[in-house]
């Protein structure tokens, strides 16, 4: 090799020094600018605080019957009025936030965890693994979700815990399909090939490269799914398949007050309002997260 060893080489151009920004921080910066998303986040925070501090906020216990004060309209003493057992509706709505948020969060965490795992396996390994998992998702999605939830609850027996499990199960394919499609595109990225080229194992590639790069849709879908899960929990509660009386679950409260619609509309109005606001809050927050984190929106 008679090559001359002296080779002149200009140094790489110096880049202007800037603050180190991780992609997550950049997402947060965009999210902060989105007014509507901030409103949604405030609503969510409001409900979270309400759930945590329920014993201090609620003026009365959830099942304290005050029979002389049955069906009182909203007043300074009973902010949201009282129901047909003389229970303070405000206190019950406040405690109801605990139930709805817990069901919403746990169901979503459960379905996101199982769904992501299945989705990653299907997307990364492909072939028969993909066929089995994807067809399973298709079968689950072929049923209207609330029907599937009712079926699961009828098998397990009606209770709040079983409603939570049912909601988690019916949401698995949503997460699974989302992650699968994301993994399909991420695994073709050159950095995955580069990771293989430095001798990284499959498991390591899956969890340190594929999963973090598939995280954003999970987060966005997760926040939107909490809203759906709250709604589904209320629906199951309304049908008497979820929370059981006398638990102060919003859906169950609606069901119990059905007959009082004309006589005492506040017994329905406030639990219904709580459901609507909570769902609205999570939806607005989810939309904001999507705008901030979705790679397709990046310019």
């Amino acid at each position: 090799m008679g090559e001359p060893a002296k080779i002149q080489e200009p140094p790489a151009p110096v880049q202007p020094q800037e603050e180190t920004i991780s992609p997550w921080k950049e997402g947060w910066r965009k999210f902060r600018k989105n007014k509507i998303a901030l409103v949604g986040t405030s609503i969510v925070l409001f409900f979270v605080l309400m759930a945590i501090f329920a014993p201090w906020i609620a003026p009365q216990g959830i099942n304290e019957q005050d029979l002389p004060n049955r069906l009182q309209p909203p007043s300074s003493e009973f902010w949201f009025g009282t129901d047909d057992f003389g229970r303070d509706i405000f206190s019950r709505v406040v405690y109801g936030a605990r139930i709805s948020l817990t069901v919403g969060f746990l169901a979503v965490v459960g379905s996101a965890a199982v769904g992501s795992l299945l989705g990653i396996l299907a997307g990364y390994y492909g072939r028969w693994v993909d066929t089995i998992i994807s067809r399973l998702f298709d079968i689950m999605l072929a049923f209207p979700s609330i029907l599937l939830a009712i079926a699961v609850v009828s098998i397990l027996g009606p209770s709040l815990r079983n409603a939570l499990i049912a909601i988690a199960i019916i949401n698995i394919p949503n997460f699974g399909r989302l992650i699968r499609s994301r993994v399909l595109s991420v695994k073709e990225e050159e950095y995955i090939m580069a990771a293989k080229a430095i001798g990284m194992s499959d498991a390591r590639i899956l969890f340190s490269h594929v999963l973090p790069n598939s995280m954003t849709p999970i987060i966005v879908q997760g926040s939107l799914a909490v809203a759906t899960a709250i709604l589904e929990a209320a629906a199951l509660g309304f049908l008497g398949l979820g929370a059981q009386v006398p638990q102060p679950e919003w859906g169950a409260m609606l069901a119990a007050s059905r007959a009082l619609l004309v006589q005492a509309p506040w017994t329905l109005f406030f639990p219904g309002l709580a459901i609507m606001l909570a769902v609205l809050g999570f939806n607005l927050m989810g939309d904001g997260l999507r705008d901030a984190l979705d790679p397709k929106m990046k310019t």
Partner: protein, 339 residues
């Protein structure tokens, strides 16, 4: 030629893709070797099997549908085609490293440069985190990146294409591999950066004595950096030799066409030469020389028989019937063709 000197020795390598339309041979019976500390250029048009060759050496042919159906790949006398996946993982990154065409996408956007540089060392157990960090910073300095310490905490999107390719090179060289495979490392970069990256690779080749297998379609790149060239066409090696010899006297009509299609700044030409036709789809040519349809010298035999690789001079061979001794006299027109 001394066999101990060969870092990589590929013999009779055949790689096929099994699709719905049947077996498609992407690489068909190719031989080449890379000597210690040399730069070998593999040249050819898109779709001639260059990348498949490099991925076969790394053991990264997407399978299915791809499969190595024959031949051997030896790295320092160790057979790679029969090595287990576990052994291949030890080899990748440690003995053979690879850099890719697209520096913009070969780094994971969610991790810092330092994180990704240290990964390779930690995987191959080349020391603890502190040592890996020190080595990573040294490598960043070696590839000519300024403010290496701060760069360790930067994310890929903060770097330009040229800087990222330097990072990729640093990542590849961090475990001190015996062979670096560079698959079109400069194609995605602009011309001034291309020259810098090539000089950097040449410098590392000289300083660290790492053999480089440079895959490219750009003859200019080859002329500047490679000692020897392998020209590939439609999955076969059509010509090999020292790069000076090939540039001075290309033997295979395809190589000649390639060299003629490089623009020459010294002469003002109306139109740049181009080889008529396209690279045949893999598997579409069953008999005869694969270049026959586009070759201006093709005669009957070219369409009936597949030419073997003729040894034409010291260290040179060409896959063309024009160099068959029997045919040579009858078809010696090649000497009179304009160069």
């Amino acid at each position: 030629m001394n066999t101990q000197e060969k870092v990589l020795d590929v013999k009779g390598l055949k790689v096929s893709f099994f699709t719905d339309d049947g077996e498609v041979p992407a690489v068909d019976d190719i031989d080449f070797y890379v000597r210690k500390g040399e730069v070998l250029g593999i040249v050819g048009e898109s779709g001639c099997g260059k990348s498949v060759t490099s991925l076969s050496v790394m053991g990264l042919i997407p399978s299915p549908p791809g499969k190595i159906v024959g031949g051997s790949i030896k790295l320092n006398d160790e057979e790679l085609t029969k090595a287990s996946e576990k052994r291949m993982r030890q080899i990748r990154g440690n003995d053979i490293a690879m850099i890719f065409q697209e520096p913009m996408t070969s780094l994971n956007p969610l991790f810092t440069i330092g994180n990704q540089l240290m990964d390779s060392m930690l995987i191959h157990k080349k020391g603890n985190k502190r040592e890996a960090k020190k080595r990573a910073i040294d490598m960043l300095k070696l590839v000519g990146l300024p403010r290496a310490e701060e760069l360790m905490n930067d994310y890929p999107h903060q770097l330009s294409g040229g800087m990222r390719q330097r990072v990729m090179i640093a990542m590849a060289m961090v475990c001190d591999p015996k062979l670096l495979i560079a698959d079109e490392p400069t194609t995605a970069l602009d011309v001034t950066i291309q020259a810098q990256i090539l000089k950097l690779m040449k410098r590392l080749n000289v300083e660290l004595n790492t053999a480089i297998m440079l895959i490219t379609h750009d003859l200019g790149v080859v002329a500047e950096t490679c000692e020897r060239i392998v020209v590939m066409y439609a999955g076969k090696v059509v010509e090999t030799g020292a790069s000076i010899d090939i540039f001075k006297d290309p033997q295979h009509p395809y190589t000649r066409g390639l060299i003629q299609s490089v623009p020459d700044m010294r002469y003002k030409k109306q139109r740049l030469y181009s080889i008529p036709g396209n690279v045949p789809k893999p598997g579409s040519i069953k008999t005869g020389c694969r270049f026959a349809d586009r070759c201006e010298f093709a005669f009957d035999r070219c369409r009936q028989e597949d030419p073997p690789l003729y040894h034409t001079a010291e260290g040179r061979s060409t896959r063309c019937f024009l160099f068959d001794e029997k045919e040579g006299a009858a078809h010696d027109s090649r000497a009179t063709v304009e160069s």
